[in-house]
Amino acid sequence: MKENICQDISYETLVAYADNELPPAEAEKIAGHIASCDSCQEMLSALQRSLQVTQVIWQSAEARWPKKRSFKKPILSRRLIRRLATVAASILLVFGIGVMQRLLYKPSEQITPIRPEPMAAKIDEIEIEAQRAAVAAQMLAVADMLAAQPGGQEYAEKRYTYVINSFPGREESVQAKLRLQNLLERRVKQ
């Protein structure tokens, strides 16, 4: 693009004149020049006409728009809707496959599920508990025997500690704690 339309006027001045943005004195001067300059006249007309046509294009496009559309924040965002749709489609697919399988492969006989007997489970628990009690009592008895032996106090202490740590909350554990305390007190006195 050339900088000037003619020697006297720049493009920028001509555009400002076409848009009525020049101060009155300068506008008058430019008008005087344009009246005597063919190239400036031609360009000024082209500037005005091209803007008119461009505005026709814009206004015509604007007229095609639906008027008064309301803008509301959607309850669900597009992304969330897409995710939900994906999940729903997956559920439907799985459900559909299940239904198809049932229809195609009907089971010949009804299989009843084997339910575990609740009583059997309880008996198992009682047995385990009884075994633990027996072991605890045995360990405590062994510790007592060791404590009664000369020089066996150190081993007895270890046994009592083991019973305390291994069977917390049991009667044997409480007993072991008391006997350990006695043992330690006896050693301090000696």
Partner: protein, 169 residues
Amino acid sequence: MRMHPVFIEQVERLRRLVVGMGLGAEEGEDVLQDVYLEAIRRPPKYCGAEEIGRWLIRVTVNRCLLEFRQRGRYQRAAVGVLQQWTEMKNAPLAPDKQAIRTEEIEAMRQCLSEMNESLQVPLVMKYFCELNSNEIGEILELKPGTVRKRLCKGRIILAQTLLRKGIKP
């Protein structure tokens, strides 16, 4: 500052901006809806309605530019534009004038669709959205002098297109 009333206040201007940038009604509505959601979800950290208005225009311009790269612009034929125009004005044209007008519209449509975005955006803002050079400069983060230069360049390109096509205004 609540966003909804500011958006509603600015929506006509934003619509003009989208139209002026050459998007069709359908894509344009999508753009405005996206701008609205953006404004509601991530509003700017300004407090004045004026600043929010400028921010909305800037977001709309950027969203339109993104849309161009995906779809193109000014896809409507000149005949359709002229038909719409005569219907709006309720003034049918004589056949010879209609032919000239169609040629002019087609030339301008082609020119706008090929025009650099940096020139087109200020043109739309000034001559369709009625913003002045200072306001355009603030929105696009340009100096007013730069805006004026771009406006001038855009106007000259449009005018020269008419002259080159041999259409005497």
